[in-house]
């Protein structure tokens, strides 16, 4: 407050800020360097030789990285699409209406956001076995809905809480049918919410590990599984390249939606799971 302008205060803030910046980017740096390194052994601080080998390998047809990338994108898109489909109506119910049992419904939806995947996925796995859903892409998509739907519902509930349904009544009174009203009035109004919520739901699905590992049974190898395998087998250069590819959608989505990513929007709550 009073001493805000003082030199001491501002240089202290600058130094702590610089420290914070360093710490925030630090873990990403060795990953980035490794992806261009050729034999980077202890105790060299930087690689003696640079190469694009890891990237070439990652983008080659034989490595499976690209297959895994398309598979992961497909799974996340499907999970996002399904979440939007069921999340928008549920968000409307929670955002626009007061009803008996609402807090119980909210609790049901909140629970999967807090309870870790490992606690439920073992039970799901033993049921999915009997249904033939294990080791399959549909099974993985289905199980990804557990973290993505609650998230989508919460975002949409926030959108609908600030939405005035009188516009719909106005459209109906002007002669629009119910589907036309939805298409021309409701959808444009909630579209920004759907886009932001959808992008974040995509990221939530994109980052799932244990759900995919168990239900996919090692047959459905999404990018995080591949990354984990390379990381634990000591292929640091390829790990670095896959790691860089893996964080790319998040960065793109961040640039698209930066203003929605402040803690003020309920959207940020779901980032505890990524």
């Amino acid at each position: 407050m009073q001493r805000n302008g003082s030199l001491l205060g501002s240089s202290f803030r600058f130094l702590t800020g610089a420290l914070l910046i360093t710490w925030l980017v630090l873990p990403l740096i060795p990953l980035a360097i490794w992806s261009f390194a050729k034999g980077w052994f202890y105790p060299s601080l930087l690689p003696k030789m640079w190469s694009l080998k890891a990237w070439k390998y990652a983008f080659s047809d034989t490595s499976g990285v690209l297959d895994s990338l398309w598979l992961t994108i497909g799974i996340s898109l499907a999970a996002t699409f399904l979440s939007v489909l069921v999340g928008v109506p549920a968000g409307r119910a929670l955002g626009m209406y007061q009803f008996k049992g609402k807090s119980a419904v909210e609790l049901l939806i909140l629970a999967p956001m807090i309870v870790p995947g490992i606690a439920v996925v073992l039970g799901i796995h033993s049921v999915f076995i009997s249904m033939g859903l294990t080791n399959s892409v549909p099974g993985v998509i289905l199980v990804h809905l557990i973290p993505t739907i609650p998230y989508m519902v919460l975002v949409m509930a926030g959108i609908f809480a600030n939405y005035d349904p009188a516009f719909e009544s106005q459209a109906r009174s002007l002669g629009a049918s119910a589907p036309k009203t939805f298409w021309y009035v409701t959808l444009p109004a909630i579209m920004p919410g759907i886009i932001v919520g959808g992008l974040f739901a995509f990221l939530v699905s994109w980052s799932q590990y244990i759900l995919t590992l168990l239900i996919g049974g090692g047959r459905v190898v999404t990018l995080p599984l591949l990354l984990f395998n390379f990381a634990t087998s000591g292929r640091n250069d390829i790990t670095g390249a896959i790691g860089m590819i893996y964080i790319l959608p998040g960065i793109i989505i961040l640039i698209l939606t930066a203003k929605h990513l402040s803690g003020r929007s309920g959207a940020v709550g779901g980032f505890g799971q990524i």
Partner: protein, 285 residues
């Protein structure tokens, strides 16, 4: 169409998926942990899985370790997040960069952070190399074990890296909507800077801070891939132990894995209780 019916119809798809998958999964897990599964001929529930879990020393070590990881990470992240939010409230050179990195960090999956921490802090990692460069260590084994270590330092470092921005962004938004006037009032009534923070700002941000921390605690208690990459083999974190039991060649270990999953779920139920309590409080004030 009555409102009740309409609301029911709107909620039905989402709720049915969540109830069937999530609560179904929990229920099946619960039944299997009691060795009860009529479909496959197990009709006599028993407590054998819990007995063997609770008589196993590794479980206790694992539980303590996991609790230590979750508790320590949450407390450290929370303190640093509040400090960072206080910093970000002020104008300084580089603030926009910190803000951007906070948000960037939210989108980077934990797994990537874990690998980054591994490359930084392992005994042949970047910091070990720096130490060697400065002649502080003779060889990799002289560097303190910060990953795969019994105190889970690497795991905690990873969580702190990832959760400081998460709690920080929420607390910062909280502080911005509260504004600075409450503290100004306190100062003009005679509170020192510290008193204004301690008696005014902290109680105001407390509910938001706590509900974010509850999410962090539940996540760090139940995450698998981070301790799987950075943790020691023995004792392993509870989710890792549960996974190992579940995928054990000996199918008899599965109910034990289920029992551990149920224990994790119970702990998260306690977290949900706190979350609901504090987020309600936040709405009220």
């Amino acid at each position: 169409m009555s409102d009740r019916f309409k609301i029911g119809l709107l909620l039905f798809p989402a709720l049915s998926i969540i109830v069937v998958l999530f609560f179904g999964g929990l229920l099946v897990g619960l039944m299997r942990s009691f060795n009860y599964m009529p479909v496959i001929g197990l009709t006599q529930p028993d407590l054998s899985a819990y007995v063997s879990v609770f008589t196993d020393k590794e479980f206790y070590l694992s539980f303590l370790l996991t609790f230590h990881i979750a508790f320590t990470s949450t407390v450290i992240s929370c303190i640093l997040a509040v400090a960072a939010a206080l910093l970000l409230r002020r104008q300084f050179i580089g603030r926009a960069v910190v803000n951007f990195l906070f948000q960037l960090n939210l989108t980077v999956p934990h797994l990537v952070g874990a690998i980054g921490i591994l490359y930084l802090f392992s005994q042949s990692g970047s910091f070990a190399r720096l130490a060697a460069e400065w002649g502080m260590i003779a060889g990799p084994s002289d560097f303190p074990a910060l990953v795969f270590d019994p105190y889970a330092i690497g795991i905690i470092l990873q969580y702190v890296w990832k959760e400081v921005p998460f709690i920080g962004v929420i607390v910062l938004a909280n502080m911005q909507s509260i504004g600075e006037d409450y503290e100004s009032v306190a100062r003009s009534l005679g509170a020192s800077r510290w008193q204004a923070f301690r008696h005014v700002l902290l109680p105001l941000i407390f509910p938001g801070m706590l509900s974010a921390s509850v999410m962090v605690f539940a996540f760090t208690f139940g995450a698998y891939e981070i301790p799987a990459i950075l943790g020691a083999n023995y004792p392993a974190a509870l989710p890792v132990l549960a996974y190992r039991h579940y995928t054990d060649v000996d199918l008899a270990a599965r109910p034990e894995a289920m029992a551990m999953a149920i224990i994790i779920a119970l702990l998260s139920a306690v977290m949900i209780y706190f979350y609901v309590r504090f987020s309600r409080q936040r709405v009220r004030s």
